[in-house]
């Protein structure tokens, strides 16, 4: 086997003997690799590198280098997980994150080269050993990075679900739901439920669903809208659908969808006027027009 115990010891000794130089070189390498100025503070980076080096040396000394899932490597992996997920949180790119581990190769190989100037075999062993370990550590940082990004995306999607369903009260007894974005199945459910819930909470009798911000109205969207109208009616509220732009109106007709006895209006303002009228209210000018 290449590497092995000899490679491991050579690696350990080289890191130990060159700690200061390694650290300087490694930090310099990374600062150079960051395209964005000030993406990371040098003091913070230096600290991260110091910690890694300390844990790395310990793990090589105590642990076995063929299997990184052993307890000796736990501290190294955990530390890399922290670095990786914090970079993922801060919006670092995948390569900016992977750089942490991979940029350590050059300084480390230089140190190994110095330590084994006269022994080609020992140098090859040590370089092999180092490459094998760093590659696996690099992959580990990518795994963690991806998981972090996935978590962020899932969280943002959830935020969107909630954020995009603001049911607003326009006047006594009149609610409006301005829907913005794609009415795909998951979201529609949330949107419609929140409207029905607010109808109950406020005892409203008029609900305006404004679809100005919905780019596509297909049969699925129409079906969801009609279901909501029916449910709202059962709860004692009349629904109006507004924001039906001319091109959408034409498309719905060709599609063959009939919105039946639902009141539809081109604009939210005209739907509001209808709702006010049904409530026996109207808007009056309190001062003559200027």
């Amino acid at each position: 086997m290449i590497g092995g115990e000899a490679g491991k010891m050579a690696l350990y000794q080289a890191v130990l003997d060159n700690e200061k130089a390694l650290l300087d070189e490694w930090v310099k390498e990374q600062i150079g690799a960051f395209s964005r100025q000030g993406a990371i503070r040098e003091t913070e980076l230096r600290q991260q590198c110091e910690t890694f080096l300390r844990l790395f040396v310990q793990a090589i000394r105590d642990g076995n280098t063929t299997d990184l899932r052993t307890p000796e490597w736990e501290a190294v992996l955990r530390f890399l997980s922290d670095v990786s997920s914090s970079r993922g949180e801060q919006g670092f790119s995948p390569s900016e994150t992977a750089t942490f581990v991979f940029s350590f190769k050059r300084p480390l190989f230089t140190a190994l080269g110095k330590a084994h100037q006269d022994d080609g075999k020992a140098l090859a062993d040590a370089v092999w050993e180092a490459t094998a370990i760093l590659d696996r550590l690099g992959l580990h940082t990518m795994d963690v990075y991806l998981k972090t990004r996935e978590t962020i995306i899932a969280r943002q999607q959830e935020d969107m679900l909630e954020l995009s369903t603001p049911v607003v009260s326009l006047a006594e007894g009149i609610l409006a739901l301005p829907v913005i974005g794609t009415l795909d199945s998951a979201r529609t459910q949330v949107v419609m439920e929140s409207l029905l819930q607010r109808i109950v909470e406020t005892g409203s009798t008029q609900a305006i669903i404004d679809i100005t911000g919905v780019p596509t109205v297909d049969t699925l969207v129409a079906q969801h809208l009609l279901k909501t109208v029916t449910a709202a009616r059962l709860m004692g509220a009349d629904c109006l659908i507004s924001g039906i732009r001319p091109q959408i109106a034409q498309t719905i007709v060709h599609l063959g969808v009939e919105l039946g006895n639902v009141t539809t209006k081109a604009t939210l303002a005209s739907a509001f006027a209808v709702a006010l009228d049904r409530q026996g209210m109207k808007i009056v000018r309190s001062k003559p027009q200027a």
Partner: protein, 137 residues
């Protein structure tokens, strides 16, 4: 007859609800780029939505091929939806307004035909379904 030129082509997967949104967005971009007016773009995108969702729900997923076409001085967009699902045993019935084997409105296929200038459907039971639509400027 002038020969038809395919100006660009792209194949997108349809494996999840989010892919339906992607296909729609891409169809909108290509149709707009081809110079179709707002009403035509909206019609094409809506038909796209219906057929992509059919491929997903009934076909168990598939692909959408989006082509930008030039036929003489006419520009247009053609979409081909393909799946390897169960196929449609009775196309005439499936094309009937209001017919659904699921819980839809039964207006997707017939509506997509009305919204398009060209429409063709080919389906083999046990093998899959291919629906092609085009809209011209």
């Amino acid at each position: 007859m002038a020969t038809m030129i395919v100006r660009s082509t792209e194949t997108l997967p349809i494996r999840a609800e989010a892919d339906v949104v992607m296909v729609r967005q891409k169809a909108r971009a290509v149709a707009t780029e081809a110079g179709l007016g707002l009403v035509d773009v909206t019609k094409l995108v809506t038909a796209t939505s219906e057929l992509a969702r059919n491929a997903l729900i009934y076909g168990g997923g598939g692909t959408a091929l989006i082509e930008s076409l030039q036929d003489g001085i006419r520009k247009g967009v053609r979409l081909t939806f393909e799946d390897q699902g169960p196929g449609i045993p009775d196309i005439e019935k499936a094309m009937t307004d209001g017919y659904t084997s699921g819980s839809g409105m039964g207006l997707g296929l017939s509506g997509a035909k009305r919204l398009s200038n060209d429409f063709s459907i080919h389906s083999v039971v046990g093998q899959g379904t291919r629906v092609m639509i085009a809209r011209w400027k």
